[in-house]
C-alpha cells in the first residue's frame, strides 16, 4: 500500500472523530497500539480496502470536529482505511468543502452565485450556489466541534406552491412518520408490493415519466434495464446532489416531505431488485440531510423499509451531480466522471448495476403507483421576482404564466436551466415549459431553474459569474473542459473589458472552444459549459455591436 508517512500526527480529537465512525482500531496495523499478536500476524488486504468508501464520511467527521483536515488526521484516516496518503490527499483537495488550512470554530460561507449576486452579495471567498435562492442573499454557517452544527439562512415564509408533488409540503410534520402516514404515506408502497415489480415498471413506463434531474431520460426504460441485469447486487442511488445554479426544488422536497423520498426509493428498489440504497445529498443541505436520515431511521424501525438505505454527504463538487462522478464520490474517490459506456444500469456503483434517480423523479413514482400521475414539473423561480420559490405547474405551462405567478416585472432575460441552461428574452416567454416546447427554441428545462433578471441586472457580470463557475467546477480530468472553461472565462473578460471591441473575433473563438468542449468532453459538464455563454452572446445586449 506504500503508506508513507508525511510526519503528521493526528490529535486526540481527530482520532476520536475517525474512531467514532470506524470504531476503535483493533490492531497496530489498523492504527492502534501494538498488541503482542501484532508482532506475528496482520489481517488486512481486501477486508480493509473494502472500506475505501468510508473515506468521505471519515473526512467529514474530521472536519466537523476540528474544522479542517490536517495532514496528521489524513494520515490516521489512511492507516485505518489502507489508502496511500497521496491518493487520499488527492481526494481532500478535489472537494471544495474540505479545508486544508486551520479554521476557527466557526465558518460562514457566503454565496456569491448569480441569484445572491443580484441580491447584492459580495464575498472575498464566496461559494457557489447554496441552493437557497428563495432567500438570497444566503449563507451557510458551520460551528465545528463535538456538537457540530450547520445552519442555513432561514425561511421567512413558505416558498413553495403546488397541488401534486408539493401537496404534503408544509402540511405534514416532516419529522413524523405518523403524520406522513395519516396523509396517505406508505400506501403507494403497499400497492407496489401487491402489484409486483413487473407491473410497477410497466406503470412507470406507461406514464411516460422522464427523469427530472436534467437529462430527461425515460424512467421506465431505466428501471427495466436495471431489473433485468443478472449481476448482483443491484444498487439504488438517489441523486440529491442538487448543485445546478438557481436550483433548490429537491431541497424543498427533502426538507418538507422526506418520508415521500424514502417511500419512492423503497418502490424503486422493489421494482428493480436493488439490495442497497444511497441518498447522495449535497453537503450544503444540512437540514435535508438530517430529515432524510431521520425518515430512513423511522421507516426502518417501523419495518417499512426492506433495503438498507444510507445517506451520503457530498463535499462541495458540482460535478458529483453527474451520475458516474457521484459513484466515484460514494466509493471514496475524486468525483471524476467515468467514460460511458458501460452505462450505470450495467456497471455503476462498485461496478454493479445501478439505478440512479433524481429526488423529484422518485416523488412522481408515488403518484404513478397510486394511479394519480399529474405530470407536473417543479420550477425554482428566483432573482428579480416578488415571490421566489418552487412552483409546481402542469407540463407545458407557458413561461410567461410562471413569471406572472412569481411576480416578475421589467424582465430583461431569464436563465432557464441554471448555469448549464440558456438565456431567454421576453420575445421567447410564450414558450411552453415542456421538454419538447423548450427544445423547439434550442433551450432545455434542465433542472428547472428559472432565474429572472430585470432591466437593472448587469448581464456581463452574470455571464462572467457563469464562466467562473464552470472554470471552478471543471474536475480537470479531460483536457477540452479543463482548458476550455478557463479560456472561455479569459476571453469573456477580455471582450467585456475592451470598450471598442465588437468582439466578433472572440465570438468565433468562443464558438470553436464550445464546439471542442461539446464534442470531446467525457461528461455533461464540459458538454454544456458553453451553452449559457453562447446563448447570452446572441440573446443579450452585451456586446458593443449589439
Amino acid at each position: 500500500m506504500d503508506i508513507r508517512t508525511t510526519g503528521g500526527a493526528a490529535t486526540d480529537a481527530e482520532m476520536a472523530a475517525v474512531d467514532g465512525l470506524l470504531g476503535k482500531p483493533e490492531s497496530l496495523w489498523e492504527g492502534g497500539e501494538r498488541r503482542p499478536a501484532d508482532d506475528h500476524v496482520g489481517y488486512g488486504g481486501r477486508a480493509v480496502r473494502s472500506q475505501r468508501h468510508m473515506l468521505l464520511p471519515v473526512l467529514h467527521s474530521i472536519q466537523d470536529r476540528v474544522g479542517w483536515v490536517s495532514r496528521g488526521a489524513l494520515e490516521y484516516a489512511c492507516r485505518r482505511l489502507s489508502i496511500p496518503p497521496a491518493e487520499a490527499y488527492g481526494v481532500v483537495s478535489f472537494y471544495a468543502r474540505f479545508g486544508r488550512e486551520p479554521r476557527g470554530e466557526k465558518a460562514v460561507h457566503v454565496c456569491d452565485d448569480i441569484v445572491c449576486m443580484l441580491a447584492g452579495a459580495k464575498a472575498e471567498h464566496g461559494v457557489p450556489c447554496l441552493g437557497l435562492c428563495d432567500r438570497a442573499p444566503a449563507t451557510l454557517t458551520e460551528r465545528y466541534g463535538e456538537a457540530y452544527t450547520a445552519e442555513q439562512t432561514a425561511h421567512e415564509s413558505p416558498q413553495f406552491a403546488g397541488a401534486k408533488l408539493l401537496r404534503r409540503a408544509g402540511v405534514v410534520d416532516p419529522e413524523s412518520l405518523d403524520s406522513y402516514r395519516s396523509h396517505g404515506g406508505f400506501e403507494p408502497l403497499r400497492r407496489a408490493r401487491q402489484m409486483g415489480p413487473a407491473t410497477v415498471i410497466q406503470k412507470v413506463t406507461e406514464a411516460g415519466l422522464l427523469g427530472r434531474g436534467g437529462a430527461a431520460f425515460p424512467t421506465g426504460r431505466k428501471w427495466e434495464s436495471v431489473a433485468k441485469e443478472p449481476a448482483r447486487p443491484h444498487y439504488l442511488v438517489c441523486n440529491a446532489d442538487e448543485s445546478e445554479t438557481g436550483t433548490f426544488k429537491d431541497r424543498v422536497l427533502m426538507e418538507n416531505d422526506p418520508f415521500a423520498l424514502v417511500e419512492g426509493m423503497a418502490i424503486a428498489a422493489l421494482a428493480t431488485g436493488c439490495e442497497k440504497g444511497y441518498v447522495y445529498i449535497r453537503d450544503e443541505y444540512p437540514l435535508a440531510r438530517r430529515r432524510v436520515g431521520n425518515a430512513i431511521a423511522q421507516a426502518r424501525e417501523a419495518g417499512l423499509l426492506e433495503i438498507d438505505v444510507e445517506v451520503r454527504r457530498g463535499a462541495g463538487a458540482y460535478i458529483c451531480g453527474e451520475e458516474t462522478a457521484l459513484f466515484n464520490s460514494i466509493e471514496g474517490k475524486r468525483g471524476e466522471p467515468r467514460n460511458k459506456p458501460p452505462f450505470p444500469v450495467q456497471v455503476g456503483l462498485f461496478g454493479k448495476p445501478t439505478l440512479v434517480n433524481n429526488v423529484e423523479t422518485l416523488f412522481n413514482v408515488l403518484d404513478i403507483v397510486n394511479g394519480d400521475f399529474g405530470n407536473t414539473r417543479l420550477f425554482c423561480v428566483s432573482g428579480h421576482v416578488d415571490a421566489a420559490g418552487v412552483y409546481e405547474v402542469p407540463m407545458g405551462t407557458p413561461l410567461r404564466t410562471l413569471l406572472r405567478q412569481a411576480g416578475a416585472r421589467d424582465v430583461q432575460a431569464v436563465l432557464l436551466g441554471g448555469a448549464a441552461g440558456s438565456f431567454l428574452t421576453p420575445d421567447q416567454f410564450d414558450v411552453p415549459l415542456s421538454f419538447e416546447g423548450v427544445r423547439a427554441i434550442g433551450a432545455t428545462l434542465g433542472s428547472g431553474a428559472v432565474i429572472v433578471f430585470d432591466e437593472t441586472a448587469d448581464m456581463k457580470q452574470v455571464m462572467l459569474r457563469i464562466a467562473r463557475f464552470f472554470r471552478d467546477e471543471s474536475c480537470g480530468q479531460c483536457v477540452p473542459c479543463r482548458v476550455g472553461t478557463k479560456r472561455q472565462e479569459e476571453i469573456l473578460e477580455r471582450m467585456f473589458q475592451k470598450p471598442n471591441n465588437d468582439g466578433q473575433a472572440d465570438v468565433a473563438l468562443l464558438s470553436d472552444i464550445a464546439q471542442a468542449m461539446r464534442d470531446a468532453s467525457i461528461c455533461g459538464l464540459g458538454q454544456t459549459a458553453a451553452n449559457a455563454i453562447a446563448s447570452g452572446l446572441t440573446q443579450l445586449k452585451v456586446l458593443n455591436s449589439g
Binding site: Y43, G45, R46, A47, S82
Partner: protein
Amino acid sequence: MFGAGGGTSSYEEAEHTDVIFLWGSNARETHPIFFHHVLRGVRNGAKLFAVDPRRTGSAEWADVWLGIDVGSDIALANAMARVIINEGLADTKFIDSATTGFDEFATCVEEYTLERAEKETGVPASAIREVALAYGQARTGMICWTLGITEHHNATDNVLALINLGLLTGKVGRYGCGLNPLRGQNNVQGGGDMGAIPARLPGFQDLEIPDLHDKFSRAWGGAAFPRKKGWHLSEMFEAMERGDLRSLYIVGENPARSEADQGRAVRLLTGLDHLVVQDIFLTHTAELAHVVLPAAAGWAESEGTVTNSERRVQRVRRALDPPPGARDDVEIICEMAGRLGADWGQPSAEQVWDECRSLSPMHAGMAYHRLDELGGIQWPCPDETHPGTQFLHARLWQDPVEGPLAPFFAVEHDPPVDRLTDEFPIRLTTGRRLDSFNTGVQTNEYTSPLRKGEALVISPEDGARLGVEDGECVSASSRRGSVEVNVRFDHTMRPGLAFMTLHFPDQVATNVLTIDATDPKSGTAEFKASAIRIDKIDSSPPVGKYPAKPGDGAAAST
C-alpha cells in the same frame, strides 16, 4: 523446479490465480514489475498471503501477513502441510500418479503440530491454519519467493519445503498454479541458463553427465574442459583461504561489498596473485584488481538476449555506442581467447546465440527472428515451430506420467546458525529497498526522493528500551565485527528484530555483521539471519536525523 532451474509459471498466471503467496519476498519493493501482475490478480479476487518477518509494503496488501521468526519457514510450511493432510485437502490422485516420497514426507510433517509451529515461528496457530486451509481449498494457487527463502544456511531445504506444498495440493503443472523464485535482475535466469553456475553447461545441462560433456566437447573442436563441477562463490572464497585459488577473473560482480563477512572477503581478494575484474563501473572489487577490463553495458550498449523470471528469452539491442575503451563482453572474451592462443574469431551476438541453440535443446527453436515476432519466447522451445512453454510440468498431469516423477523431500526445521544469546539478543535481517540495487554500484549515482541512506531499522519499543533517539548513531555488533550506524524507528518492525540493507557499503558496511554460514547445496550465505547487539554510544555527539554521509545519494533530500 524438479531439475528445471526456473520458475514454473508465467506472470500472466498471477493475474488469474486464486491464491498468491509472497514467501520471503517483498515484491512490492524488490520486484515491482512482477508485483503489478500480483496486484492485478488481487483486483481480480485472488487472496494474497505474505510470509515475512517484517510487515513490508507487500504485506500491507496481503489479506493475511504471517510474521514468522527469521529462519522458521520450514516449520511453517510443514505445519501447513500437516493441516492440509489432516483436513483431507491433499490431492491424493496427483500424489499417487505424479510424485514419490509422500509417505516419508507425511511422517515428517506429522511432527509439526500447530502448537509446535506457533512456538517455532511465533505466528498464532489460528492464522497458520487459516492460511493452510485457504491454500488447500483453492482451485489454483501460486507460491512465489525470493531471498527470504534462499539466503539461509538451509536454503535448498527451504525451497523444497515450499515445493512440497505445491505437490501436496497438486498446484503445479496447471494454469494459475506454480512455484516461482523471483529473480533479482532482468537476466539472473539467463545467467544460470547459460551455464554461469559451477555444475551446468548452457541449457542447464549437467556438466558431469559424460554424453552431454562429449556433445559440447565435440562442438568446440575437441576442447578438453573439466569433467567435474567447479566451485560456487562461497567455495571459491574457502579455496582462497586454503591457498588453492590464486587467480580470479570476475565479470560483473562486486564481492568486496556483496559478500557476507566483508572484512574476510576483502582480505582474501587482496591476497590473490592475480585479480581481473570486468565491469561497467570501477567497483570496490575493481579497485583491488591487477587488471580492469571496462565492459559495455548489457542494456542499450550491447546486442544479445536476456531471460526473465518467467523463462522468457527476449532480445536486447544496442542503441548507444559504449564510451571509448569499453568493449562488448563477447568481444573481450574472444580477444582474451585469442591472446591465450585460441582463435574464436569475432562472432556477432546472434552467432553466439545460434551456437547456443545448436547445443541447448530448450533454446533450439528460438531464432532471433522468432524472438522478435513473438515478443520473446518462454523455454523450453525445442524447435522452430514450437510456441514456447507457458508453464512447466504439465506432463505431471499425464496418465501415466512420462519421465521422472516429482519427489517429495522430507525436510526439518533448522534454526539460523547465528544463535540469539543474551550477548547478541537481536535478530538482524538484511534486504533491499525499492530505489536501490544491491551494493549501490548501479544506483547510488542518481538521487531518489525515497532514499534516506543506510540505517539500522528497529521498532520504536526497542529504541526506547535502549535509550536511543530516532536517528541516533549507535554501535551494532555481531560475533564478527561492529559498525556504527544511525537507527531509524519503524513501527512495522517488532521488538527484537532489526533490518539493514547492503545498498550503502561506503556509509555502513552491513556485511561486517553478517555471517557466512553457507548452504552447502546452493552456496548462498545466511544474509537473512545474524545475531547482533545494539549499544548506545555515550560520547556520540548530538546529530540530526540521518545526516548525510559519503555515499549517501539522498544527501540533498534529507
